[in-house]
């Protein structure tokens, strides 16, 4: 199966990057960032995936998926939320000061 979690994650990252290159609106750039982070989370979680692995709650003698990426992603999600919030707040402030969110009209951004 080619379309597994890892590939989809990487494709999401690429889509996010495309958005950041091609889109001129500040919000769309922020969305690009969010998509990248989502792809990254997916990528990470898939890295720890094991076929037929159960959730890492020890309850018998079966195979489990790797618990570490899950934990790391919890941290990453919080970090991502924080940066997104800050980015949005800054966008708000930029809009307040310049009355536009188009980076081609916002000089030097």
């Amino acid at each position: 199966m080619i379309l597994n979690g890892i590939t989809v994650g990487i494709i999401l990252i690429l889509i996010g990057l495309y958005g950041m290159i091609a889109k001129k609106h500040v919000f769309k750039i922020i969305f690009g960032l969010i998509i990248i982070s989502t792809g990254l989370v997916l990528f990470f979680v898939s890295v720890g995936y094991v076929d037929t692995g159960a959730a890492p709650i020890v309850s018998g003698d079966t195979t489990y998926v790797d618990p570490l990426p899950h934990t790391l992603m919890l941290t990453t999600i919080v970090v991502e939320v924080c940066t997104t919030t800050l980015a949005l707040v800054l966008a708000l402030k930029i809009y307040e000061k310049y009355k536009t969110l188009d980076i081609s009209t916002l000089e030097d951004l």
């Binding site: 979690g5 001129k24 898939s46 720890g48 076929d51 618990p67 919080v78």
Partner: protein
């Protein structure tokens, strides 16, 4: 214009990443994970390994995470309200 360039760049990047990474999906877990599964319950007492890692093995990361949250809150208040003395 930017769209076309963007697509080209992203496609090149995709080819690069996919051609150089040979990531195997769904295979066995790494060394660290095996150790966690082996020792996790006995060492920390938590059945849920994610919990045991989050709140015990790598609690330092979690501390960092909460601090970032704190910084973000502080930052939002600073940006929105202004930096009053």
């Amino acid at each position: 214009m930017k769209g076309i360039i963007g697509i080209i760049i992203v496609l090149i990047l995709g080819v690069l990443i996919f051609s150089s990474l040979r990531l195997e999906y769904g295979n066995s877990v790494g060394i660290t994970a095996e150790m966690y599964i082996e020792k996790g319950v006995s060492e920390t007492g938590a059945v849920n390994l994610v919990t045991s890692i989050l709140a015990d093995y790598r609690v330092y990361d979690t501390l960092g995470e909460t601090i970032i949250l704190f910084i973000a809150i502080l930052g939002v208040s600073m940006v929105l309200k202004g930096d009053k003395k």
